[in-house]
Amino acid sequence: MRAPTIQKRTEQRGGVGESVQRPDGVPKTKGEFAYSSDLWAENMLWGATTRSPHPRARIVSIDTREALATPRVRTVLTHEDVPGRKSYGMEVPDQPVLAWDDVRYQGEAVALVAADHPEAARRAAGRVKIEYEVLEPLVDPETALADGAPALHPSGNVIRHIRIRHGDQEASAEVVVKGDYQVGMQDQAFLGPESGLAIPDGEGGIDLYVSTQWLHIDLDQLAASLDLPPSKVRITLAGVGGAFGAREDLSIQIHCCLLALETGRPVKMMYGREESFFGHVHRHPARLHYEHGAMRDGRLVYVKARIVLDGGAYASSSTAVCANAACFSCGPYNVPNATIDAYAVYTDNPPCGAMRGFGAVQTCFAYESQMDRLAKALDIDPVELRRLNAMDTGATMITGQEVEGPAPVAELLKRVRNAPLPPDGDAMDIRTLPGGVSNTTHGEGVKRGVGYALGFKNIGYSEGFDDFSTARVRLSVVAGEPQVEVHSAASEVGQGVVTVQMQIARTELGVQQVVVLPADTSIGSSGSSSASRQTWMTGGAVKNACEAVRARLLQRAAQRLGKRHGKLTLDGANIVSAGSGSVASISDIVGDDPIEETKEYHHRKTFPLDPRTGQGNAHVAFAFAAHRAVVDVDLDLGLVRVVEMATAQDVGKALNPQAVEGQIEGGIAQGLGLALMEEIQISQGRILNPSFTDYLIPTILDMPPVRADVLELGDPHAPYGLKGVGEPPTISSTPAIVAALRDATGRPLTRVPVRPDDIVGLDGQSG
């Protein structure tokens, strides 16, 4: 099953498959790495945003006079000052750059200020007088879906409906379980809030330095709204303090450029944590109704599901999230018959879009909860029920697509099942108990639980999107030594794509010295650092460009050396022939005439889903993971300590094993957060907890050790056989933890994050 990956060559230090240390590790540990918030320019102004306090209102008037009269203020802008397209959006341009008639969520941007000082800008932003006609917000997605609901957008309230009809719609089962599940609104909570610096070039163009996930989609939207040709807009990636999906949509980008172009001066914008909660999209909250039918022996017969995702005020990536929720709604199981309806709906809640796991997270919680419920109904061990129904290579998805690559679902499950269990807790050490030093238990009420879950997801973009990445590779000789320069627009968001590009260049060209240039828009798009795709796509582009450079190098060598050596190959930094061994070094052949190639990488073609049946080969590849959670629960207080997470994941090929483990551990931490504590709480469209005081993310005392078992079953379609790594850890970790809680408590726990109330049974959950 192991696919051939790398051509056999002399071992290259720092190449593919090694735990190469990240080049930004040194500046990051020294405090020298320049995050977007660290940028500074001579004569720089500070921008600030006036936001709507109302989730739904009609703008009656906007009066900027008082704001403009504030000392040190240079300009105040409204929608009238947007020269080009007045709205933006990655898939549907429905979000106003600055609101003009309606505001549709609390925190929507209405006006902008630039001033000499950040505090002056913030104050003046508060002095923009906006008269609103306040309207009742439409906050319930089911209400928004219902006939007769007021339309929040001209297109209506349904952003997308995915309808999957697979197999026999009348299939009947011997055992049926039904359940209703809910997922709260999670925030990506990256640690470095949105920021950037825009510098006008004095000739009508602009340079923007910003933390983002996809430079070129920013460029497209910027150029449209600024009414500039794309060549006049140049974007360079600034240091990114985490992303996790929240930097796919625009935040400060257009605003900062508008202010800079208006004032003719560099403008910096930087959100605080509170504004960050209003300034980016969140994970879609979901309500999911499921019905699973099975035979008495445990084989699944059908799954029926109705999935409603609250898209909030604007579309963002809701259309793709909705498709993912539908396509992966039945889990990595053989489900012969499926009836799925997934809806993404407009409301007056905060807009929702991309977050790690992207639609697969919400449904995984529901279908894995259902699998446990079914196991109980059948009186079968939940692991055995999963094994019995596990997908393997050649399985057919509910979209009719055949799973072509490795799909070692049963193997992953077996591995986490067989991993040794952690020892019992030490009741004498309260630090290890639920509540910790808060001193809530000395062992009383504490019960251990164990739970399992499986998850899967697509890698890369789906539904016919021609996704690609571009890389330029230049081989030259510097101070007598060969050097490779790699340039792409791939966003390093912390995941390690810079390291991976270096590793690939070393492996492909045998050159030790590799420099990765800053990502910017002077080269073609690399697509987004999302969908677990960037190592695959940009890795593929760098590999392609390296291969093209290598071919030219060998061609040049053959020309120089004549035909006497026969076929030449590259071994390390040497050019060798079968007969003569090493015949020249790279430096000999390159000399002072560098070799440069720019190549794209496109993944294999995908196809749209049939709008009537949801059938189609929509996805490039799939990634699978299994999780086992061991928890200690205080049954009386509803407090939890996760003792250990064990996981097995097929990564195809670990290009950098240490970075792979880092993705797995970090991804699990976010899944743990969703299971136990992370929720943006909303009441009548208003966020109740826009701070790290009350939006809780796991601390070092909440996150347990991880036992990770990494499988490398190469994917035949991917460069080096690699698969994306980033998202699977976040998908099935959440339901595994909740399954462990159910094991300990016996309660249904149908909503995440699980609240202490649910564990102690104060909520009267019907189940």
Binding site: R51, S52, P53, H54, G107, E119, R122, R123, G126, R127, G272, E274, F278, P434, G435, G436, V437, S438, N439, T440, T441, H442, E444, G445, D636, L637, G638, L639, R641, L676, M677, Q681, L688, N689, T693, D694, L696, P698, T699, I700, L701, D702, R755, P756, D757, V760, L762
Partner: protein, 308 residues
């Protein structure tokens, strides 16, 4: 900690205001004189709460009075059967230095914030903010602490229950500063427990402190984060005291019946006046208080039994 009236916009940000005067006395006398001259000056201790308000521009005081340079406030010493705890002693020091005398406060101090916060934050700050979620406050109430406040030329002491009068409201006059807390040395086991929805760095959903006075055979409880102020639970106190008396448990050092523990928990829960907010529901707060009341009583009583 009331500042001047501020205009706050829809996102909670403050508008207007003028420059800020910064006062940095090095002695208590100087501090009290400055406070008399600037009654609107906001006292500044560890800054945990205050800086957030400044940061968000919610607070624009005319002056700030930095108390962190006053050595007199950073001292603590035993006198008679009390500890006089300067308002400016950090929680880090409380954790390491006073456990012997004030175990309840030491346990509570350990639950506050994080090491960085405990290095700066003080009991005086918790008192000044007077938040019902101030973790140091329930142990003070349970232990019968008195708050010493002073103004230029005078000082007074008042029981904690008279000091804190509402959420973020206390009996401090504009010209007064919190100088010290006088806390009876523990005359029996003390306990503290705090409920939070993560295992570190969390604002309490509910908290509970309990102090046993083995000499007078009294038990006092205090409830945090479940009412407008830190609450006493006199009915629970009376119930457990009389139960122990009647059963002869004080002398026999015998276990407390589960039914008694449960009833004690119920009375504590009934004594609470919680609301539902972003951190927890009213029902959960009541439920959790009953549980931690019974548990802390068990732990404290185990210590009492072992102390024979």
């Amino acid at each position: 900690m009331a500042g001047p009236a501020n205009e706050v916009d829809g996102l909670g940000r403050c508008q207007g205001g003028k420059g800020l005067e910064f006062l940095q006395p090095t002695s208590l006398t100087e501090a009290l004189e400055l406070k008399a001259a600037h009654p609107g000056a906001v006292p500044l201790a560890g800054g945990t709460d205050l800086m957030v308000d400044l940061n968000f521009d919610r607070l624009r005081p005319e002056a700030m009075l930095d108390l962190t340079r006053i050595d007199e406030l950073k001292q603590w010493w035993p006198h008679d059967d009390l500890i006089r705890l300067g308002a400016g002693v950090s929680y880090t020091r409380l954790v390491s230095e006073i456990g012997e005398y004030l175990p309840g406060l030491a346990i509570a101090s350990r639950t506050i914030g994080s090491p960085q916060i405990r290095n700066r934050a003080t009991v005086g700050g918790n008192l000044g903010t007077s938040s019902p979620a101030g973790d140091a406050l329930p142990p003070l109430l349970a232990a019968g602490a008195e708050i010493e406040v002073a103004s230029a030329g005078s000082s007074r002491r008042m029981p904690f229950r008279d000091f804190m009068i509402g959420p973020k409201k206390n009996a401090l006059a504009p010209e007064e500063l919190i100088v010290a807390v006088h806390i009876p040395k523990a005359r029996g086991p003390q306990q503290f427990s705090k409920i939070g929805t993560r295992n570190a760095m969390v604002i309490s959903v509910a908290s509970f402190a309990l102090a046993i006075d083995a000499g007078t055979r009294a038990i006092s409880c205090a409830i945090g984060s479940a009412g407008p102020v830190i609450l006493e639970a006199p009915e629970a106190d009376e119930f457990i005291e009389s139960s122990l008396e009647e059963s002869g448990a004080w002398d026999a050092r015998s276990r407390i019946d589960n039914s008694v523990l449960q009833r004690f928990g119920e009375l504590v829960a009934q004594g609470a006046r919680p609301i539902t907010d972003v951190r927890g529901t009213k029902a959960y707060r009541q439920h959790a208080l009953a549980v931690i009341a019974a548990r802390t009583l068990t732990w404290a009583w185990d210590d009492y039994m072992a102390s024979a």
